[in-house]
């Protein structure tokens, strides 16, 4: 408990007791804007945000050819069609596989590297940090050809492994920087105390540090998952076999068809969105804390 207290990034806000109302028209406390200044712009923005979501839901649920603005009578034909005829069932499996493998690889490799960066001074540390930062400027999309040739040499074209490696590699630098910042926020003295108590470095890390990294690891891991779930170019380039395609490539195929089947496209889109929405709902509260702890300051 006390450990958790100690590593919180900011002390609990000191809320001033409600001041006595002032004689002037400014009778609200300092952090309160007039209500309409909040709700009016927020509602306008929400309309812009939500209409596209409603639109795709509408198209996926109403019968083909209908122009009704409510999805009634409701039909799941589009979903059935996309899942079986358009092989979204297979794509879904592949995407889940790639997403989870990328998540695990990114988190593990970044955790090891992040720990080294946070806790040791070693000769090539500065050079390594510089390489991490520079890699942010390397456009993955522009490396398609040499990457393709590398994977061809490794006989990995048309295997999900190529996409998993490519996604992991491009997730790594930022993940590692984030995780090393999270680890820096955990006082070193906690680990030392565990060593004194007879733990070795690994056990001390597992018992003392790892639990405190949970929000950060959840943020980094879900980024890796969502990113690889969404990413499109690597799968498009490295997987030619329709059996091996992922969801974004399937969506692109639906859009590229000669006469676009809007219902199928919408249903495919909903299928693509569901896991992301679930992950998002799950991590939202970790996201902000994770970011404020590690992302920008450091």
């Amino acid at each position: 408990m006390s450990v958790k207290e100690a590593t919180k990034t900011a002390p609990a806000p000191l809320r001033a007791a409600p001041e006595p109302p002032r004689p002037t028209k400014k009778n609200r406390s300092w952090d309160e804007a007039p209500r309409w200044q909040i709700y009016l712009p927020l509602s306008i923005y929400l309309v812009f945000t939500l209409i596209p979501f409603y639109w795709i839901l509408l198209f996926s649920l109403r019968p083909a050819g209908s122009t009704s603005l409510v999805p009634w009578p409701i039909t799941f034909d589009h979903f059935e069609k996309v899942w079986t005829e358009r092989s979204f069932g297979t794509y879904f499996q592949n995407s889940v596989l790639v997403g989870i493998a990328t998540l695990l690889m990114t988190t593990l490799v970044a955790l090891a590297g992040g720990y080294a960066l946070a806790r040791f001074n070693f000769k090539i540390k500065r050079a390594f940090m510089l390489a991490l930062l520079c890699s942010q400027f390397v456009p993955g999309a522009l490396l398609l050809v040499p990457l393709f040739e590398t994977f061809a040499e490794l006989q990995m074209i048309n295997s999900l492994g190529s996409v998993i490696i490519a996604e992991t590699v491009f997730q790594l630098p930022l993940s590692m920087i984030l995780i090393s910042n999270f680890i820096k926020n955990v006082p070193y003295s906690l680990e030392e105390a565990a060593w004194v108590d007879g733990c070795n470095r690994m056990t001390a890390f597992r018992i003392v540090v790892l639990p405190l990294l949970r929000p950060g690891l959840i943020a980094v891991g879900s980024f890796a998952f969502v990113h690889s779930w969404n990413h499109f170019l690597f799968a498009l380039m490295f997987l030619n076999n329709p059996e091996k395609q992922t969801i974004p490539v399937g969506l692109n195929t639906l859009m590229g068809a000669d006469s676009v089947d809007l219902g199928a496209l919408a249903a495919g889109g909903i299928i693509a969105a569901v896991p992301v929405v679930i992950v998002f709902a799950f991590i939202q509260k970790w996201l902000i804390t994770g970011f404020s702890a590690g992302a920008v300051k450091g």
């Binding site: 990034t9 900011a10 000191l14 300092w30 209500r35 909040i38 712009p41 927020l42 923005y45 929400l46 812009f48 945000t49 209409i51 596209p52 979501f53 490799v109 970044a110 090891a112 590297g113 080294a116 946070a118 806790r119 040791f120 001074n121 520079c134 890699s135 400027f137 390397v138 456009p139 999309a141 522009l142 050809v145 040499p146 990457l147 590398t150 590699v169 491009f170 790594l172 070193y188 030392e192 969502v226 969404n230 499109f232 170019l233 974004p248 969506l251 859009m255 809007l262 919408a266 889109g269 693509a272 992301v276 992950v279 998002f280 709902a281 939202q284 902000i288 404020s292 920008v296 300051k297």
Partner: protein, 311 residues
């Protein structure tokens, strides 16, 4: 600070008995997997791009392959109007997107940082397009911009635009249409980052300012904005690089069309290498794009005095 302690501590003799991971080698072992992956799949491809940029290299025309010196670069700068067009469009795209995303993202973050009823729900909804992919964004906006069944038909009902036009296939509307689609999912990124940073502003500062009679606008300019500066500089930079490099959305939404109107440099490079198989020339263009990005980023960090005086 913590590192100084880290260096000082490990050599304590009693701990030497563990033969397996002596502190000296441990950091190298820990970064080895990451370093190997990055060497193999980032450094090596980058080097081969540099190498190919000096070659004539086209698998479909092997008889012409060979060392080309700077020919590819000379061709790009003197003889290829498409290179300049796409470069200018990329700059315009990045500038407009990042500017608008920052503006709306900042405004949204300030709004949802207030205390009001329904805040949690409001935040969740506002941030929701954050995780939507470029391809899915395209799919959604293709539905919205469709001339027969899209939202544009209903907008025409109330006098905005005209019936039967598809905003994505008209050269005069495609730019704003694509910008809006990308804004839709780009704004939450800034809103989330800025909101996270807003939470670490000390509330004492505002209370002090309030006592001194500073207006809310003054508080924003003199407290909030300086506090957010580093976060804003960093997130705009990352986002600009990302917007420059990312091809998912435009590739699937417009494919660079109509008539090359929305062709960015990376899209052009992808076409050159994937469709035309002109790897040598595409590599030269990639090198140019890389140098431009690096140069602009350094200038930006210098101009914005990132990190302030405390570093």
């Amino acid at each position: 600070m913590a590192q100084a302690a880290a260096v000082a501590k490990p050599p304590a003799p009693p701990r030497r008995r563990r033969a397996s991971a002596t502190p000296r080698r441990l950091p190298y072992l820990l970064i080895a997997p990451a370093a190997l992956l990055m060497l193999g799949f980032i450094a090596y491809p980058v080097i081969s791009v540099f190498y190919y940029s000096l070659q004539e290299y086209n698998p479909t025309k092997p008889w012409r392959n060979g060392f080309a010196g700077l020919d590819n670069f000379v061709h790009a700068f003197t003889d290829d109007p498409l290179f300049w067009d796409t470069l200018v469009f990329s700059a315009k795209w990045v500038f407009v997107e990042v500017g608008l995303q920052l503006l709306f993202g900042l405004a949204l973050a300030l709004i949802v940082n207030q205390t009001f009823a329904g805040r949690a729900l409001g935040r969740a909804l506002v941030f929701s397009p954050w995780a939507v992919s470029g391809v899915l964004t395209s799919a959604i906006w293709v539905l919205l911009y469709n001339s027969q069944t899209g939202i544009t038909r209903y907008l025409a009902d109330v006098g905005i635009g005209s019936y039967g036009t598809s905003w994505l296939s008209d050269t005069s509307t495609v730019f704003p249409a694509a910008i809006v689609a990308d804004l839709w999912r780009g704004v939450p990124f800034f809103a989330i980052l800025i909101l996270a940073d807003l939470q670490s502003v000390s509330k004492d500062l505002y209370e002090a300012a309030e006592v001194d009679g500073a207006s809310r606008i003054k508080q924003f300019w003199h407290i909030t904005l300086p506090h957010l500066k580093d976060a804003i500089v960093l997130s705009t930079l990352l986002r600009a690089v990302w917007e420059f490099n990312n091809v998912d959305l435009l590739y699937t939404l417009t494919g660079g069309g109509p008539a090359g109107e929305t062709m960015t440099l990376p899209l052009y490079i992808a076409n050159t290498s994937v469709d035309a198989h002109n790897f040598g020339y595409a590599s030269a263009l990639t090198t140019v794009a890389f140098v431009i990005l690096l140069f602009c980023s350094m200038v930006y960090l210098r101009l914005s005095k990132f990190g302030g005086e405390d570093k």
